[in-house]
């Protein structure tokens, strides 16, 4: 008896819980998901809290080397409270270049949950608590764990704030692509005929354009005098506009097979309207497929933004994204004299890898009935 109920329970698992089961078993996919969750919490939600300085806060330490957080000082003594060495000016005798290096004689302990520049958490709650910082009663005290840029701004803070724009453009852009691709794909597949023809020719036309050049041409067309926020949204719309074609095609293909099923005929005989048929009965059937494609194309979107901004065609300062940060980092000069500015690259790569891991796991999990 007990066995029988057990069995029935197993049989009546819904599709999505089966997907979840299978997904959980895939370690790399779960790891990718957790990394992304952490990234979005840290960069999008808590950037102000984690960053020791604000985005534009300048200091006198220009192109300073990263200050390593240490526990053991130069005399080999262990400190329970972590500390950083102070920065000292050096002038290179050969190149006459001014640099800042760590000076072991000055020690600044790192304090946690310190009160510094005020900000609004999640844009709502005014507070001034930051995750960590040094005692700023000494004007020379500083904590730049990833160094500073040519304006003396803390690079770690800038990466945190930059991550917010870069990560969000991927999500928002993909969301727009999803809406465009799904709606046009469903309409094209459902109605067929002239509508289908029109949508298909449009996607072909967009495909005939080489991908990156089209982005560039459109992004170059954004007027330079527009406000940063408008530029951000225009760029998102451009990214979505260029990329909806592939998705629309896939959705159309799925709809073509779904619309011949009996349940659609049943719904139609029951008097369901066209729009109800399309969006209540047909579209949900494509969702598992769509989610996988969407996840796998977010990294491409983030990279497009990065590449465009890096080329000076996308976001522009004062907007700060990872691509904008790369503008300064990606020159031979910067790599030679300020290689810590390349800290943006590992963050970008981890994001992209995590999305690929997650998407790949989802692809396997979305077909929970199949082998292995």
């Amino acid at each position: 008896m007990a066995q029988a109920t057990e069995k029935r329970k197993h049989v009546s698992q819904s599709y999505w819980s089966l997907v979840w089961w299978k997904f959980k078993k895939n370690k790399t996919a779960v790891a990718g998901g957790i990394i992304l969750l952490l990234f979005y919490i840290c960069f999008v939600g808590l950037a102000e809290f984690i960053a020791p300085y604000s985005l534009e806060r300048r200091s006198n330490y220009t192109e300073a080397r990263p200050q390593v957080i240490r526990f053991v000082d130069a005399q080999g003594r262990f400190h329970l409270r972590p500390f950083v060495y102070g920065l000292e000016k050096h002038i290179d005798q050969e190149t006459r270049k001014r640099t800042f290096k760590e000076e072991p004689s000055r020690i600044y302990p790192v304090y946690f949950f310190v009160r510094r520049e005020p900000y609004k958490l999640f844009g709502l709650f005014p507070t001034d608590i930051h995750l960590f910082g040094v005692d700023e009663s000494d004007p020379q005290a500083s904590i730049f764990i990833m160094g500073t840029d040519s304006n003396g701004r803390d690079y770690f803070s800038r990466i945190l704030y930059g991550g917010r724009l870069s990560l969000m453009i991927g999500l928002i852009g993909q969301f727009l692509t999803l809406i465009l691709g799904c709606v046009l794909g469903v309409i094209s597949g459902y109605y067929g005929g002239a509508t289908d023809m029109l949508v298909q020719r449009t996607t072909e036309f967009l495909n005939a354009f080489p991908d990156i050049p089209l982005f560039m041409a459109l992004a170059a067309a954004i007027p330079k005098h527009w406000s940063p926020v408008t530029v951000y949204f225009m760029l998102t719309i451009i990214l979505a506009f260029v990329r909806w074609g592939g998705l629309a095609r896939q959705v159309r293909g799925l709809i073509l097979s779904l619309r011949e099923r009996e349940y659609v005929l049943a719904a139609r005989s029951a008097g369901a309207s066209d729009s109800r048929l399309m969006f209540r009965h047909l579209l949900p059937g494509t969702m598992s497929h769509v989610i996988v494609i969407a996840t796998l194309s977010i990294p491409g979107m983030i990279l497009s933004e990065t590449a465009l901004s890096w080329l000076g065609l996308g976001l522009r300062p004062p907007l700060t994204s990872w691509g904008v940060l790369l503008q300064e980092a990606g020159t031979v000069y910067a790599i030679r004299y300020a290689p810590w500015l390349l800290w943006t690259v590992p963050f970008l790569l981890v994001t992209i890898l995590a999305y690929n891991m997650l998407g790949d796991g989802l692809r396997d999990a979305m077909d929970p009935y199949g082998g292995r």
Partner: protein
Amino acid sequence: MVNYLLRRIGYALIMVILVSFVSFVVMELPPGDYLTQKLEQLRARGDRSAENRIEEYRVRYGLDKPFMVRYIGWVTKFVKGDFGESFEYERPVKELLGERLTMTVILAVATLIVTWVIAIPLGVYSAVHQYSLGDQIITVISFIGLGMPGFLLALIILYIAIVFLNKEVVGLFSQQYVNAPWSWGRFVDLMNHLWVPAIISAVTGTGGLVRIMRGNLLDTLGQPFVEAARARGLKNRTVVWKHAVRVAINPLIVILGSEAFPSIVTGNALVSIVLNLPTIGPLFVDSLRKLDMYMAGTCIVFFTFMLLVGNLFADLMLAWVDPRIRLD
């Protein structure tokens, strides 16, 4: 067949015209043009006669005429082989592109060879030894390569070369060979610089190819004709390479047409910019930034043209190697 060809070519022509028109419209969107940018520059430098000179240019480039007149004028000249003049360099677009075409093609062909020579054997190995240690290593590496954007990898390689190896890897030639005539020394120097873009394309380009090759070959190896070949007592090598790979490689031809062929002209623009390679890509990006219309327009038309020709070429090749496909 002739019918099919004519239809495809007609279709491609319409596409090219549409694309060229749209790209001109897009270039027209931002307020001002190349000359307003130039005017600002000259004024900033305190050039008194700036206005007059700009007016001169405006007439010379025909920028005073309405949009449609300019577009049609450009298209009619384009057909005759005159692509207009670049505002930025004050030289014909044809010359500028021609100078860079050789290097772009050399680079593209080199990367193409590297990618395919690495990818196909790896894909075949991966499929034949499915789930073995080698397969898993190849799978992991190809996934990393798939997700790795070329220009970031270029930055990483630059970083390693500059910080750890203390070596200049930017460009295609060292200082003394840039304008030198071809010689053995220049060739060696080119090879010394060529490994960087080669590695980049090997890492970023092979990942996808390996995955596709592996997937196709796994499908093919499960088919009855492979079993039949084995039953005839053929050697494993022969079965895999002469029977299965021969069929499994067909879909890769599509990629050759739609990705590899256009890249011969484009080059990888982003990687080229990081590494300062003299290909057409960086020239194009620059022309977009400066609103150098005829330059950008010509580039876009050529990119689109190559893409369409590549697709057509791929379809024809596919029909040729796989007799089951009929074009009509």
